[in-house]
């Protein structure tokens, strides 16, 4: 294979990879847009929301027993659950310790 042929093959190959993934991106974006539109729930009036809220029995605060294998409860200050889970996973990974052997007391966002 000559160097010129290799150059053309390399450029063409890179273009094919880009084109393939570009089309795939368009397909996935289309699929995502469809599902997003389906997820949209029609907005309810404030009154009906209030009525539905009244129907829900009020939660009674119960001190749930700690799950088996868990290291206890954690207090979260201005940190969503998902972010807290990610932080705990990163800490466990960095320390090379199983997550159930670590006891997190609280996570607070430093502002």
């Amino acid at each position: 294979m000559s160097i010129a042929e290799a150059g053309i093959t390399a450029i063409f190959g890179y273009v094919v990879v880009f084109a393939g993934l570009l089309i795939l991106m368009a397909v996935i974006s289309g699929m995502g847009a469809y599902f997003k539109s389906k997820e949209k729930v029609p907005e309810k009036s404030a009154k009906s929301v209030q009525q539905e809220t009244n129907k829900i029995p009020k939660l009674v605060k119960v001190n749930k027993p700690v799950a088996k294998g868990s290291a206890g409860h954690i207090k979260l200050y201005d940190v969503p659950d998902k972010e807290a889970a990610m932080i705990m996973a990163i800490v466990a990974d960095t320390m090379q310790k199983p997550i159930n052997e670590l006891h997190f007391i609280s996570i607070k966002e430093v502002k």
């Binding site: 294979m1 160097i3 042929e5 190959g13 993934l21 570009l22 995502g32 990610m86």
Partner: protein
């Protein structure tokens, strides 16, 4: 019984007697290299699951070459001459697995799984079952970063041709830049099986070295301001989307490049088992038991191809250098497109996630996370980087499919 004669025969038959006969010293060098690889795998933890197996395969095959008769000895574990006959159109044993089964050693028989493309495909089945494509689905633009990070594949391919390799050999060397071990093994066994040993070792070694290779380019090509960008949380992807995705990708990519069918087909089947929710047993098996079994066979049989006479050549040195170039340029490609996306998005995309487009999952995404946090402790790029990371797996499979379509 003449004790002296018996001792003489034992010494003459032992492998030690062959150390300095003919090219015995080459096997000795390979044994030392296998020790180095074992050290890297066990002590330095460089991709230990595969590297330890590869190193031990390398040790076994080169120790067995000290038997009287060398690689042709019936006691040898791996016989390259049988595989030469297997690939030779003029040989009576062309594509004869029967000849391998009848005359091969243990590692010859295990190597059939590599040669037939079975092991890399089964590894992809496990990879699919372990991969969450959610981050990619929530941000489909990640696919562009996965595509951009294939730049090293094609640059190394071009470089290899310039250095005198044939097109098939160059394609196998270039795919190292995809940072995807099974894909590199799959393509090399089809196009240039004689280069499998050095290519597999280079690919896995560089994948292990990602935390050392990538940060230099990440800091070189991005500004402090760009590295500090905190990306917004992506949308939540529904279960239905996750189930449709593997079916859609399998149909689309296989129709686009039929040669990718074994890899993409297995990757997406594994992912479908994971996501559909009714095949948990199968998903669990391919993620753990099957993956481990195949890793055992793959490592040891790839190591078996590192026969001294074929490995200790100038070509190996060139492959190692080209592999490094491929890795570096793949990282650069991802970062450059990341920078373009940063500009086009008005500064909403952190270009550091571009380097995760090389498909070493999840190592490359972790490097993006670490470097992002160095610039801004509030930065959590891990899930954003997982998008380009898994896109890189699809991208490298497409790159391999293209090269296979051109050179097969």
């Amino acid at each position: 019984m003449d004790i002296l004669e018996t001792l003489k025969t034992l010494v003459a038959d032992s492998g030690f007697a062959s150390f300095f006969v003919d090219e015995g010293y080459k096997n000795l060098i390979m044994i030392l290299i296998s020790f180095l690889l074992l050290y890297l795998g066990i002590v330095k933890k460089f991709e230990p699951l595969l590297l330890v197996g590869i190193a031990f395969g390398c040790l076994l095959v080169n120790v067995s070459n000290f038997f009287s008769g060398g690689v042709s000895s019936p006691d040898a574990l791996y016989h390259p001459e049988l595989w030469d006959a297997f690939l030779n159109h003029d040989s009576e044993f062309y594509h004869s697995y029967g000849n391998i089964m009848a005359n091969g050693g243990l590692l010859d028989i295990l190597y059939i799984g590599v040669k037939s493309g079975l092991y890399p495909s089964l590894i992809f089945l496990g990879v699919g079952a372990m991969t969450d494509f959610g981050p990619l689905l929530s941000n489909p633009k990640s696919l562009l970063l996965g595509a951009a990070a294939q730049m090293g594949v094609f640059l190394a391919f071009f470089g290899a041709v310039c250095l005198g390799f044939t097109g098939k050999e160059a394609a196998s060397i270039g795919i190292i830049g995809g940072a995807d071990g099974p894909t590199a093994i799959f393509l090399t066994t089809r196009l240039a099986p004689h280069l499998l040993g050095p290519i597999a070792i280079a690919a896995y070694s560089y994948m292990a070295l990602i935390p050392m290779i990538q940060p230099f380019f990440m800091n070189l090509l991005t500004t402090e301001k760009e590295r500090k960008v905190v990306m917004e949380q992506s949308r939540t992807v529904s279960k239905t989307e996750k189930i449709i995705f593997p079916i859609l990708v399998a149909v689309f990519v296989i129709l686009l490049l039929p040669s990718t069918a074994p890899l993409i087909g297995c990757l997406m089947l594994g992912n479908l088992w994971k996501e559909c929710g009714v095949t948990e047993r199968l998903s669990d098996t391919v993620q753990n038991a099957l993956m481990n079994i195949v890793t055992v066979f793959l490592g040891i049989s790839v190591g078996a191809t590192t026969v001294a006479s074929r490995f200790l050549t100038l070509e190996t040195l060139k492959i190692v250098c080209l592999g490094l170039i491929a890795f570096c340029f793949s990282t650069i490609g991802g970062l450059l497109v990341g920078k373009i996306m940063y500009k086009l998005s008005g500064g909403k995309i952190n270009p550091l996630i571009g380097s995760a487009g090389v498909s070493a999952v999840p190592m490359a995404a972790r490097v993006s996370q670490i470097e992002g946090q160095k610039a801004n402790p509030k930065n959590f790029l891990l899930m954003h980087a997982m998008g380009p990371n898994v896109a890189g797996v699809i991208g490298s499979a497409i790159a391999a499919g293209f090269l296979l379509a051109v050179f097969k």
